[in-house]
Symmetry: C2
Subunit: 250 residues, 2 copies
DNA sequence: CGTGCCAGGTGCCTT
DNA sequence: AAGGCACTTGGCACG
């Protein structure tokens, strides 16, 4: 059930929003307004035509005419109030921790609607990092010939190492897996794991590619890089490859 | 100028969207639909009531009833098409590089509106990390009385130290600045810089606050914590301090 | 609550 | 175009 108002007065819009807030409906409001934000950072946005979205869980989004990201926002769990003051509609949102405030001051509301979105569908994501681990754990030869993996996702004092194992020469090995290009961070992560151990471990960083600086740091530390062949791995997934999904749905 | 349709037929909605696309208007559409995505990853979302937003620059956002993040999206620059097929409205978005596809299949459209958002306002962001460095470099007394800073953003073998300097007692000093609460990793970072030097350096970690564990580690290492007074610093910026902004606008 | 770490991260700036 | 890095990153899992 949709409720909507076209070119409402600010009083009408304010009442409308307050009604929607009480029943935790979603509200979409298009109008002319300015935005102030204070919190971890702060920002000011002068008056302009935008979209403001209030979700039932207390999140707020302000979208301008371009781009993926909202220009201002408030995450879920905020306390939201709306009132008319001095001929302007003021929408105020307060986040408790960290302390953050967002205020939208409306000169005009062009259109506003609210609804309770009935949406029970499950969101299914394609192969994640976890999926890659499973495949690699069953096929350590993709990482290195003769490698035996002894544990996965092993918690250390300083983080969780993806794999532990023993290489062809009998050396203990830590393996860090990245699904995408490995950067300096990944090398540091691996280094931290190995430094945390009293005994000697070889380090293997396994990723589809690696940045130049990361490789340089890796070599300086004496660790190894192993190129991960994504196509070969995806052949082993139950999930259908890109091309097939494309053919089927698109 | 707003155009809107309440409970349109799928044909009406499709025509409406195509008209809006031609003039690169923003479109907000609330309805019952499913979403498929294939690209860097892939995802499937069964039918449910949601909001779909198309922006003039070719970005697409699908929002469910909860949370800050869109469940599916397409960044700006995509090619968008809309048609009715087998009694469903299909909205298709293609990204060129990387190759990514998003498809929304509508069973029903509850409300749809479009508008060209006139929005020329400048978005002004509060102090960034860079801003803090500049201010602190010019006002080292905020860090410590009698401190002289000799260089900023100096590259070491192990990273980039924010400031180097000499304290009142003539000791060489490394300063690491954090804009937010300093955690254990900030201490480790500082420690790494100092360990990398052949000569002795004092370590100062400068942040608005510090976690208990980080402070404990810092003290164990013999380094100093300096509370960064954000209000005092922001006085030196053209940007007004938190409390004042709060008083004035909230 | 802090710590660690992934994300279809996104956006910005540099080579 | 690719790499590096900050972000009001958000989000989740775990101690």
């Amino acid at each position: 059930m949709i409720q909507s108002l076209l070119y409402p007065s600010l009083e009408e819009a304010s009442d409308f929003i307050n009604s929607a807030l009480r029943v935790k409906n979603l509200v979409v409001c298009c109008g002319l307004f300015s935005v102030e934000y204070v919190g971890r950072s702060s920002s000011t946005l002068g008056a302009g035509e935008r979209i403001l979205i209030i979700k039932g869980d207390g999140s707020v989004l302000v979208h301008r005419s371009k781009g993926y990201e909202p220009v201002n926002w408030q995450p879920s769990g905020c306390i939201i109030r709306c009132r008319v003051e001095d001929g302007k509609m003021i929408l105020f949102s307060e986040r408790r921790r960290p302390k953050e405030f967002l205020k939208a001051v409306f000169d005009k509301v062009y259109i506003i609607f609210s609804t309770s979105l009935v949406d029970e569908a499950k969101f299914l994501m394609g192969p994640s990092e976890e999926t890659f681990y499973s495949i690699l754990f069953q096929h350590p030869e993709f990482i290195e010939k003769g490698l035996r993996l002894t544990s996965r996702q092993k918690p250390l004092s300083t983080g969780v190492v993806d794999f532990t194992g023993i290489d062809e020469g009998g050396n203990y090995v830590f393996v860090e897996v990245k699904r995408r290009t490995a950067g300096v961070d990944a090398v540091k992560q691996l280094d931290r794991y190995i430094k945390s151990q009293p005994t000697r471990f070889r380090g293997i960083l396994c990723a589809p590619s690696i940045t130049k600086q990361a490789l340089s740091l890796l070599e300086k530390k004496g660790y190894s890089f192993r190129k991960l062949d994504l196509n070969r791995i995806s052949k082993l997934l139950t999930i259908e490859p890109f091309e097939e999904t494309l053919d089927k749905h698109f």
